[in-house]
């Protein structure tokens, strides 16, 4: 008896769903159009990950992803034993580490400084200028760094030579010693102002009466920054840090590691500028070793996913705020 009513209930329900679907069919058509793009340009490449475990050759086309022979972990093994492996992994990690240390706090500092400004026109002026580099391509940023730092025509070298501070131009762009500083510096220059928007928004959300109360209690401006502004930004800082760490291998929020390393890298600074992504690009698209490059790519993606989930987990534990 009960089973029967349940069945009819489900039937009625199914009929309703079909009715609703028919009513919404145009909307589903719209969504379907979008899903086609998603499946082609996001999901099909995900199946391409199989390539890393197969002996894929580009002449096999897309079907080859499924039909070519399995080789197991051969390409992963090959990468680990690659003579450049140590150098590449070190460079990738050092670059990420330096960016978290230097490029991540920069917008926080800028937001706090801007918050201390009472003159609105000045504040707006500085903000407007600080966003600007975000909208300029990395190619232009690299062009600017050539104009300023290159040994033969760079403004900085010319000025230092003329002032007599140095006898020989500094090979900032073509020396392994300077690359890390150059990469972090240009990332800060390009993205600092942009991320300040979010931190300023967090400061705006702080209750003004907290500042008034602190002032009555005799707290100076530095004390107010330390005890009100910074704690008020905590949630936002944590979330942005999680995002940064999660996407740090790609360069993430503090600028693209790949574009920097690819554009600023050259044969001379290669010992410090070659990172996993540029190496995968070179062996993949330039040398045509698709399976090997996919394996390298995959290692990087897996580490990224682990990083974003673990940093999110830690953030949840430590501060209670998290991304998801």
């Amino acid at each position: 008896m009960q089973l029967e009513t349940n069945l009819t209930g489900a039937e009625v329900h199914r009929g309703q769903i079909w009715k609703r679907f028919k009513k919404q069919r145009v909307l589903h058509l719209f969504v379907g159009l979008g899903m086609i793009f998603l499946v082609i340009f996001s999901y099909t490449p995900m199946f391409g990950i199989l390539m890393a475990f197969k002996d894929y050759s580009i002449s096999d086309g897309i079907k080859g992803i499924f039909t070519s022979d399995w080789v197991g972990f051969r390409y992963f093994d090959e990468f680990v034993h690659d003579y450049q492996f140590g150098k590449i992994v070190r460079n990738t990690l050092v670059l990420c580490f330096l960016k978290v240390i230097f490029a991540f706090p920069a917008p926080i500092v800028l937001a706090i400084l801007l918050n201390e400004v009472k003159s609105m026109p000045f504040k707006r002026f500085v903000q407007t200028i600080s966003y600007l580099p975000h909208f300029i391509s990395w190619v232009v940023v690299v062009g600017v760094s050539y104009a300023f730092l290159s040994a033969d025509m760079g403004l900085v070298n010319k000025a230092l030579l003329q002032a007599g501070f140095i006898d020989q131009p500094l090979n900032i762009l073509t020396s392994p010693n300077y690359f890390w500083g150059l990469a972090v510096g240009s990332a800060v220059w390009k993205e600092m102002g942009w991320w300040t928007i979010i931190f300023l928004a967090a400061i705006t959300g702080i209750n003004p009466s907290l500042y008034e109360a602190a002032e009555i209690d005799g707290a100076g401006r530095l004390a107010r920054i330390r005890h009100i502004t910074l704690p008020g930004m905590k949630g936002t800082i944590v979330v942005v840090l999680v995002l940064t760490i999660g996407s740090i291998l790609g360069g993430g929020l503090v600028g693209s590691n790949f574009e920097q390393a690819y554009l600023l890298g050259n044969s001379i600074n290669n010992p410090t500028s070659e990172i996993v992504q540029t190496y995968a690009f070179k062996v993949g698209l330039s040398d045509g070793r698709f399976s090997y490059a996919s394996a390298i790519d995959l290692i990087q993606s897996v580490i990224s996913v682990i990083l974003i989930f673990s940093s999110n987990f830690i953030a949840k534990r430590v501060s209670g705020s998290s991304l998801f």
Binding site: L33, G34, G48, I136, M153, L173, R221, S294
Partner: protein
């Protein structure tokens, strides 16, 4: 007591203003220097010592630039991809977002899972290349446009924007017998100008600046973008002797460095022109879609 507090404030204010002025100058001066270098005789710029204004004013750099068919072609390709890529991206992204903004849409949980997953995971460059290749998109203008037509980041922002639009607007149109397509074009899009402007400007800037796809997926010289050409000339002048070689060209004093800064000005200028409009919208746009503390 009160006086020392005031003095402390004055010191603090001075430090804040000084630091911010230095930061602003560091951000602004590189653009200014590139501008004056583009109006200065190339061979003269190489001597150094030019800081505040062009020393030997010339339009020769721009003349060489404009007369070179390579640069003109790259400029036109970039304009074409920016206009069509932005228009199509705007159209598809907002259309899909409109459908997904219906709270009673069946299977919406499934659709959203697909979208969110695609934002976090990707197959990487190599499989992506294989997909483009099998679609016949390699070495075609379509590779600039088609893959970027659905922008997942803006999709989510647009959905939350459309959900803020009062439901009565749509309902009354429904009563009058308007279909979804008519509602989307006649009602939703016109009231969504702030959103559309934000999306258009970001997609436009993205298209304008893009060089990776030109470098990876295109071999044809006719399809090169401005930013790609710029990268080429920057890489060339990395070799120090090159600037001398170009300087010997008839036309006088134009170096590869001066061409480089000229191309940079040409590439930055359109962005500076839309910047005032951009700025009005993007702060709000970023807040809309991003982290809440």
């Amino acid at each position: 007591m009160l006086k020392s507090q005031k003095q402390k404030d004055l010191v603090m204010d001075s430090i804040v203003y000084l630091l911010l002025s230095i930061i602003a100058l560091t951000m602004l001066y590189p653009f200014y220097y590139v501008l004056i270098a583009s109006f200065n005789k190339g061979s003269d710029t190489l001597l150094g010592g030019m800081y505040l204004w062009p020393r030997s004013v010339t339009f020769e750099n721009y003349r060489i630039f404009l007369e070179d068919p390579k640069w003109m072609k790259a400029f036109l390709v970039t304009v074409a991809r920016t206009v069509s890529g932005t228009a199509l991206g705007l159209l598809l992204t907002s259309l899909v977002a409109y459908a997904l903004s219906h709270r009673d849409l069946l299977f919406s949980k499934f659709y959203f899972t697909l979208i969110i997953f695609a934002m976090y995971f990707s197959g990487g460059l190599i499989p992506y290349y294989v997909v483009l290749r099998s679609l016949g998109l390699l070495n075609s203008f379509g590779v600039y446009i088609v893959p970027s037509m659905l922008n997942t980041f803006f999709l989510l922002i647009a959905i939350s924007f459309f959900r803020e639009i009062p439901g009565e607007l749509k309902e009354s149109a429904h009563m009058d017998g308007a279909g979804e397509f008519v509602i989307y074009f006649r009602i939703i899009l016109p009231v969504s100008m702030p959103l559309l402007a934000t999306m258009a400007l970001f997609m436009g800037v993205g298209q304008w600046n893009s060089w990776l796809d030109s470098a990876y997926f295109v071999q044809s010289e006719n399809l090169r973008t401005l930013t790609f050409r710029m990268m080429e000339i920057i890489n060339q002048s990395n070799a120090p002797m090159d600037s001398v070689a170009v300087a010997n060209r008839p036309g006088g004093g134009v170096t590869s460095f001066s061409l480089q800064v000229t191309s940079m000005v040409v590439s930055i200028l359109p962005i500076i022109c839309v910047y005032p409009f951009l700025q009005k919208y993007f702060v709000h746009g970023i807040m809309l879609g991003s982290v809440k503390g």
